[in-house]
Amino acid sequence: MHLLVCGGTGCRASESETIFHDLKTTIASKGLENEVQVITTGCFGFCEKGPIVKVMPDNTFYTRVTPADVTEIIEEHVIKGRKVTRLLYINPETQESVSDSKHMGFYRKQIRIALRNCGFIDPENIDEYIGRDGYQALGKCLTEMTPEQVIEMMKKSGLRGRGGGGFPAGLKWEITRASMADQKYVVCNADEGDPGAFMDRSILEGDPHSVIEAMAICGYCIDGSKGLVYIRAEYPLAIDRLKTAIGQAREYGLLGDNILGTGFSFDIELRYGAGAFVCGEETALIHSMEGLRGEPTVKPPFPSVSGYLGKPTNVNNVETFANVPVIINRGAEWFSSIGTEKSRGTKVFALAGKINNVGLIEVPMGISLREVIFEIGGGIKDGKKFKAVQTGGPSGGCLTAKHLDTPIDYDNLIAAGSMMGSGGMIVLDEDDCMVSIAKFYLDFTVEESCGKCAPCRIGNKRLIEILEKICKGNGTMEDLDNLRNLGQVIKDTSLCGLGQTSPNPVLSTMDNFYHEYLAHVVDKKCPSGQCKALLRYIIDAENCVGCTACARICPVNAISGERKGVHIVDQAVCIKCGACLEKCKFNAVFIK
């Protein structure tokens, strides 16, 4: 018998370590250590009901266990085989206690659709994909459905583009189908560039065939025989796996001429991107594929009408495509039963930042931020206080504690001043300075702007200059006004999505954390202590014994004082290196 004690941070914070220890000693005292093992596990993703103890092999799932419950669990369950009913999870819908975690699927917040095969099949073996319903959807489309029917199904499913914009995929396919041309293209946008987002890479590395299959289905629908994957060259493993997968699909005749004897032909080529963020914008992506400078052009014309080489081109991103075969196999109703009214299905998020369970998750649309961060994500690292979460990468904004219970979908995020983006979620805690965070993201957009339009090229540079000024303690109230005006103008006048969203991190942190900006500007203080220039190293006269250690270590001779007398830091000279703080043995140096 095994007793599994959750060792996730959330549970540890509520004494799971004591429980673990008590379980062990109690078992030892009963002389059962050979029959019963106690081990800690990773997070169950159910922190709200923690600490969790799971008994194997009968899968009993005890929630909210306290050290006081240990004896009862051992006496009753382990020795007498009787479950401790009061510790069982109560299904909130039926009010019945659930004893077997096998019947607790509903506690699992995640549903894996796009990631269905990731971590499950060998991505380099097409048979394993086929074994998991692979290419059935393509077969079904080609033999049993007309392109119009497939498009109708896609529209009914409510699948929206997962790359950020959220344009309905079925509608895009329909428009591309309606554009007449001798050649049309299916393009898969695998130019994932948001800092902290890597779901597309994971899908291509873990399940490349799902994308290939979906592209072929899309080709069938729009009447195009050529597919192109625009993938960043920094993803060598994804490229390798994709190439292997394309090769295998060709060998099986699932790509190439006359697929499954239906007369439909489709093949895929790779195009490598040099890692420019702006090339995730579809017109820039297309220009880059054409061998031109990767910069956007005005829409309309949309790629669906005039795209690659001037031909109608359907561009979807990796995650969008990965959903397609499942929709075909399981039906539009099944898919649209998941999620919210306007955002159907699931979304993959890359959880990062100050969160315990950093990782890739896939959750139904409409899930709350609280569930994502405190359940699946296992809460904030080191028991710190949650401050905000940045969604949508450099194009998004921050959501704060007041948004914790907002259902996550495309429209709610925009209403909250952020956006879905490609699904990066960077969690920030009390130690993060929001001005610095805004600066971090702007730094990225300034680097990644293509430079074509003036507001993005120069405006973002000016924004970051103002932020730098503020972080150095030289900001004025006028700067704050300028920041807001400039941010709004950049949004209003930039050519493409990059510039139209680049001020979001600034504007949204200003909306939600204006007091932090004020602290930097008016009080010349960084509340989180992140802005080095605003730190003040001060020597406490009470504790200082005048050992002179700090004065000797100071590289710029900013500290003065007599031996055995109180020392003083000259703030004008101090470079905030922190050497004095480290050196002082008497806790006399502190940061203000």
């Binding site: 702007s449 293509c450 430079g451 339009c453 540079k461 200059e465 005006n485 139209q500």
Partner: protein, 589 residues
């Protein structure tokens, strides 16, 4: 055409479907400011990358502002072109552009004719709220063009000219974000690129980022040197445009005033490149007839068509891009170089002075002429046939500096013997003019008959590529004309593919020919100016007593006294040249 109704600034107007907001607004007298936008209507040249964002307007129901230059009107659209949101955005964007632009306007070569400066003035910009770091780049000086790209505002007009119109492909955007700028590949210098120095980039640059190499000070110093005999020649297209620099209407002919001004500037002899243009016709025409005659006699080695070679931008272009076809163009030097060569031999001998003591200055509508006169094959013992090629714009500066009231000047004649020319020479300045001049002479020489009518209307016009047939007394001569190097490329590719059966082709690098040259007064996107200049040249031609080059008595005398016969030994030495393969593959340093 489907008509749609839109509302702009509360005015309901009806426009054709597909009309942009910018154009629609123009029809009701609303001028939305633009900066990167450029539209040369008659030439069908358009640049609208929608990059400057100065023309943004508010469209009801749209999330962000719309660039008027590219946004097409849709039925029922409601547009505000100057509400507070639009004005604030427009001003902010302009301030941003100015914040990354040197403010050395007072000493900028473009001062007074800078589009950015005028816009800042119109918009009433009195402060820049967003000051910060400015992007800086290495300055690049070539024989003809200076790139001071600190002043580049990424309007991409030059890039469009260089790539789409000229297909030279030297200028394109490099770098990203704040450091993005237009430059040759690998940010090399122009003189290490395939640049032809056509100067069309300079002609459209809204700021001082692209300007000509200025020789005005060299000219002033030379004129002040008593040991030098300073001779000036003026190209045909200059007289049709110089007046614009003094506020005269485009298309005003200022031939006489120009000659008077040059004399007052202190030139010892005021001559005319037109004289050399007549000489060019003698040489090139003879070459054409020689090739045709040999062709008719069954000589299969003869190369047809013959291509004109007066345009130095065009010469550079085929040396770089078509090195396999160097034997097709005429070997005749350009009029500028023929003039220099004759001046420093024939005329220097006449004056009895050494060539070192003679300085030849040319006034050109062209920047490539600066490069041409620096080419080694046009030097004798290191002394160039033409010392300084000065643009129309530079001449205007010279005149202004010399305190000459140009508008009040009397009309004066050129000096003799190198100042007299025919109507055939003056039309060299317009596309189709050289070939028309050649036709007038070649016809009479070939057929032995007098032309009743010297005007060949079929060779004129603004169409990019023109094809015409001229009946040489039963023998049809097929003529091709292209202006703009992109169109030249098309014709050359036809020839290379054996698809063309022309006898003669005229090519001019600049749209419209020399009247649209890179050294001319700036047209600021108004193509009617180019048309007016063209018309002026044909007017001058029509008013001339002699309109055929071979009838120029001074040309006849030059051959009698000095050269012998056209394409003879001496003229071969002095008036012809050879071409070089310049197709060096790019090396990355």
């Amino acid at each position: 055409m489907e008509m749609i109704k839109v509302t702009i600034d509360n005015k309901v107007i009806e426009v054709e479907k597909g009309t942009t907001i910018l154009d629609a607004a123009h029809t009701v007298g609303i001028n939305i400011p633009t900066l990167c936008y450029l539209h040369l209507h008659d030439l069908n040249i358009t640049n609208k990358p929608a990059g400057c964002r100065v023309c943004v307007v508010e469209v009801k129901g749209r999330r962000n502002l719309a660039p008027a230059c590219v946004t097409e009107c849709t039925p029922g659209m409601e547009v505000s072109t100057h509400n507070i949101r639009v004005l604030n955005s427009r001003k902010t964007v302009l301030e941003l552009i100015l914040s990354d632009h040197p403010t050395d306007c007072l000493i900028c070569p473009k001062s007074g004719s800078c589009d950015l400066q005028s816009l800042a003035q119109e918009m009433g910009i009195r402060q820049i709220r967003y000051e910060g770091e400015q992007s800086t780049y290495r300055e690049d000086t070539s024989p003809a063009i200076i790139r001071d790209v600190d002043k580049c505002i990424m309007c991409r007009r030059c890039e469009m000219m260089c790539n789409d119109v000229q297909t030279v492909g030297v200028l394109s955007a490099v770098n990203r974000g704040f450091m993005a700028v237009v430059a040759p590949a690998f940010e090399r210098n122009l003189d290490h690129s395939e640049c032809t120095y056509c100067g069309q980039c300079v002609a459209v640059c809204p700021t001082g980022a692209l300007t000509e190499v200025d020789h005005t000070n060299n000219v002033i110093r030379t004129l002040a040197d008593p040991s030098k005999t300073v001779i000036v020649q003026t190209a045909p297209a200059v007289r049709a445009a110089l007046g614009e620099e003094f506020g005269m209407e485009a298309g005003t002919l200022v031939t006489g005033k120009m000659a008077a001004a040059l004399r007052r500037l202190g030139f010892d002899y005021v001559f005319d490149t037109d004289f050399a243009a007549d000489l060019t016709i003698m040489e090139e025409g003879t070459e054409l007839l020689d090739r045709i005659t040999r062709h008719l006699k069954g000589d299969t080695t003869v190369k047809l068509p013959i291509l004109t070679s007066c345009c130095p931008g065009w010469v550079s272009f085929f040396e770089h891009q078509f090195p396999d076809m160097l034997d097709i163009p005429s070997t005749a030097r350009s009029p500028q170089q023929m003039f220099g060569s004759i001046a420093k031999t024939y005329f220097a001998e006449k004056l009895g002075i050494k060539r070192e003591n003679m300085v030849v200055v040319s006034i050109m509508p062209c920047l490539a002429k600066k490069y041409e006169c620096s080419r080694n094959e046009f030097k004798v013992d290191g002394n160039p046939d033409v010392d300084f090629a000065v643009s129309t714009r530079e001449l205007a500066h010279l005149i202004k500096q010399a305190n000459i009231n140009f508008l009040e000047l009397p009309d004066e004649d050129f000096d003799r013997p190198l100042g007299d020319s025919t109507g055939a020479a003056v039309i060299f300045g317009a596309t189709g003019g050289v070939i028309e001049a050649a036709t007038r002479t070649a016809y009479e020489v070939f057929t032995g008959k007098k032309l009743d009518k010297v005007d060949f209307e079929q060779l004129r016009g603004m169409e990019w590529i023109r094809r015409a047939e001229v009946d040489f007394d039963g023998f049809p001569i097929k003529i091709g004309i292209a202006h703009g190097l992109g169109n030249a490329r098309k014709l050359l590719e036809e020839i290379r593919d054996g698809k063309a059966d022309f006898h003669a082709i005229e090519i001019m690098a600049c749209p419209g020919g020399c009247i649209g040259g890179g050294g001319q007064p700036l047209h600021h996107g108004d193509s009617s100016i180019l048309k007016a200049r063209t018309a002026a040249l044909y007017r001058e031609d029509a008013g001339k007593a002699i309109r055929k080059s071979h009838e120029n008595p001074f040309i006849q005398k030059l051959y009698e006294d000095f050269l012998g016969k056209p394409c003879g030994h001496k003229s071969h030495h002095l008036l012809h040249t050879h071409y070089f393969d310049k197709s060096n593959p790019v090396e990355i340093e």
